[in-house]
């Protein structure tokens, strides 16, 4: 089994059949421009911005026939009388014979839906996450996408979630974060070991990548589908933590633990901090935060590209002189255009945070049956009312990659059988897509 990328559709019923009646009329092409201008002034199609005002139909190659939308229909009777005054004037002036037509009531969410809509009346289609004209991914991106997820899984070390924010245009890692709902990694790992021992599950010692680049993980990581150490999977679990861990000094952010510091939330915070430091303005210069990372060759305008933020690196104070250079230059708007890689599907809180921060694409490896907001329990990315939409992809990780550990193989195979039903359920709700090449020119 190879690595695979599957788009998680935002909408389970791709074709919206909801339509709206409008009053339209055939027009001569020579008056089209004048009419469009007048109508857009007096009666703009406020709630139908996706609908094109004019339809052109070509009759057997001869000449084209134009129709224009005059106004919304208020009922069958207003074909005869009861037009708004402005429309009536136009009807009289141009001797139009109005008819009722149906147009799609909602903007298309997919190309297929758009093609369907255009059979009624032409609409415009804007892929939800269009940054560079590509809403999905390019074939040549796949190796690096899988590579990022491999990194995330390795970082997760079988406990907790990991989030990695990447700028796909430069391949730069913007920030990385682990779950920080509990005190620290050491206590986490102990708890995990205890839980697994209680469950009678063997414990894989090695979590580092071995020479083949394969990851040795315990079978509990994936096959039982429930990892209660993942914050998004067990959001309410923080309440049951013991109080024996209280003595340590608070971390730099002032929290010993924090019920809401799921990996995605922490990664966003790190990305925002990076933004504040790199693009320091007079109003935000009071922030005396330190940048986790190294800055090399702070000498020219290419600085932004070369900055590497790596949470694992030693903390270094930033070079303010160089940073001030960047103020106002190509400052990203939040995480617009960025990708985020999550080992586990995010919960509703994290998924909504990703909407707020304007991510372009979300990749996750393992579904979250407890509170997964991007396909498993909810489909937040298909929620039409939101002011931003990202694409969601699930990366299917090969079994060999996850079950490289020999001492767990027996257990794994028996659990594998039990989990087939679960995986099947997951897959039936996913939709495989072909990669999108080039930009849809619409």
């Amino acid at each position: 089994m190879a690595w695979e990328l599957i788009e998680v559709a935002g909408n389970l019923t791709p074709f919206q059949h909801s339509t709206v009646d409008v009053v339209a009329a055939k027009i001569e092409s020579k008056v089209a421009n004048a009419l469009i201008r007048q109508l857009n002034q007096v009666l703009p199609l406020e709630n139908l911005r996706h609908v094109k005002r004019v339809r052109r139909r070509v009759d057997s190659g001869e000449k084209s026939e134009l129709s224009i939308i005059l106004c919304l229909s208020t009922g069958p009777e207003n074909c005869r009388n009861g037009f708004p005054e402005d429309v009536q004037k136009l009807v009289d002036t141009y001797q139009l014979s109005p008819f009722i037509a149906k147009v799609s009531g909602y903007p298309a969410m997919s190309k297929e839906e758009w093609q369907e809509q255009c059979k009624l009346w032409p609409t415009s289609y804007h892929p939800p996450n269009e940054i560079d004209g590509v809403s999905g991914f390019k074939e040549e991106e796949l190796p690096s996408i899988f590579d990022r997820m491999r990194t995330a899984i390795q970082l997760s070390e079988q406990v907790g979630n990991v989030a990695i924010i990447v700028d796909p245009s430069s391949m730069e890692i913007i920030s990385k974060a682990k779950d920080k709902t509990h005190q620290h990694d050491a206590s986490l790992r102990n708890t995990c070991a205890r839980v697994e021992a209680e469950n009678g599950c063997c414990l894989a010692e090695a979590t580092e990548a071995n020479d083949d680049g394969k990851l040795l993980l315990s079978s509990s990581h994936v096959n039982n589908g429930l990892n209660m150490e993942v914050s998004c999977m067990n959001s309410w679990g923080w309440m049951k933590r013991s109080s024996t861990e209280q003595k340590t000094l608070p971390s730099e952010d002032g929290f010993l633990w924090h019920p809401l510091r799921h990996a995605a939330m922490v990664a966003i915070e790190n990305a925002a901090e990076r933004d504040r430091i790199l693009f320091r303005t007079s109003s935000s210069s009071t922030t005396e935060a330190k940048l986790n990372g190294d800055m090399e060759n702070c000498s020219d305008n290419e600085l932004a590209k070369r900055l590497k933020i790596d949470a694992k690196d030693k903390e270094q104070s930033e070079n303010e002189e160089c940073c001030s250079d960047l103020s106002g230059r190509n400052r990203p708007y939040l995480c617009t255009g960025f990708d985020i890689y999550l080992v586990w599907e995010p919960c509703t809180m994290c998924a909504m945070a990703l909407v707020h921060q304007r991510f372009k694409r979300v990749f996750y490896a393992f579904p979250n049956p407890n509170d997964g907001a991007l396909g498993t329990v909810h489909r937040l990315h298909g929620e039409k009312s939101l002011n931003h939409h990202y694409s969601v992809f699930r990366i299917k990780v090969p079994d060999q990659y996850l079950n490289g550990s020999s001492d767990c193989s027996e257990k794994a195979s028996s659990e594998e059988a039990a989990s087939v039903g679960f995986w099947f359920l997951v897959f039936t709700s996913l939709r495989t897509v072909t990669p999108v090449f080039g930009s849809p020119v619409i």
């Binding site: 911005r49 019920p259 809180m349 407890n370």
Partner: protein, 213 residues
């Protein structure tokens, strides 16, 4: 009425945000009839669109309680006795967060048709623990009581002011036009008559859905 008293304090927080060129949303957290924490939106200053008023107030509380030595169980008990007053319906993220913390009750001002998590788009306050997947050992899905429409006009007036002064950093939420379905949304009517001004300041944005935060 007690709710109005606390909502006024939340509105003060929202005004504070407005004066700092932030999206004007504010909140207070109340325990035993006393305000124990407050917060206002800081998405512009932090460059972090998740720094909503609720998150600010929650973080202040957690810091304080941890400095007092409260552990997780004690913190959960405290939250179970706290109410939140916020000028705008908590978004899906904040409503989830409030559910995770196990807050007792939420009172909000205007509704948030674009991404409200307490009835407008999702109803996270109606979470229940009935479908506990792990047989009780995993506490999950806590709902909370939620009441909207408290001093909604005042909350909306602040959004209008915000748009008159312009959103300098261009961090947006948006709240859509009035909807017939919910009485608490009557306060949103302003968006229709306000839309022309909104479209002048940001011509690329849709006119009928006023971009607010």
């Amino acid at each position: 009425m007690e709710a109005t008293v606390f909502m006024k304090l939340a509105l003060d927080q929202a005004k504070f945000a407005l004066n700092n060129l932030e999206v004007p949303v504010g909140c207070v957290i109340v325990e035993n009839g006393k305000v124990i924490s407050s917060g206002s939106n800081r998405t512009n200053a932090t460059r972090n669109a998740t720094r909503h008023a609720e998150m600010e107030a929650i973080d202040d509380l957690l810091r304080e309680w941890q400095s007092m030595g409260l552990d997780q169980t004690q913190t959960a008990e405290k939250f179970a006795g706290c109410d939140l007053y916020v000028t705008c319906e908590p978004c899906i993220m904040c409503a989830s967060a409030l559910s995770i913390l196990g807050i007792r009750e939420v009172y909000f001002g205007c509704a948030n048709d674009k991404f409200g998590g307490c009835g407008s788009v999702m109803s996270l306050h109606e979470n229940s623990s009935l479908d506990d997947l792990s047989g009780g050992h995993n506490p999950r899905l806590r709902g909370f009581k939620c009441t909207g429409g408290i001093m909604a006009e005042e909350a909306v007036a602040l959004f209008r002011n915000f748009y008159e002064q312009g959103n300098p950093n261009g961090l947006f939420y948006s709240i859509s036009e009035a909807s017939q379905t919910s009485p608490s949304r009557s306060a949103m009517i302003f968006s229709t008559h306000f839309s022309s001004e909104a479209s002048q300041t940001s011509p690329s944005r849709p006119v009928r859905s006023l971009t607010v935060f």
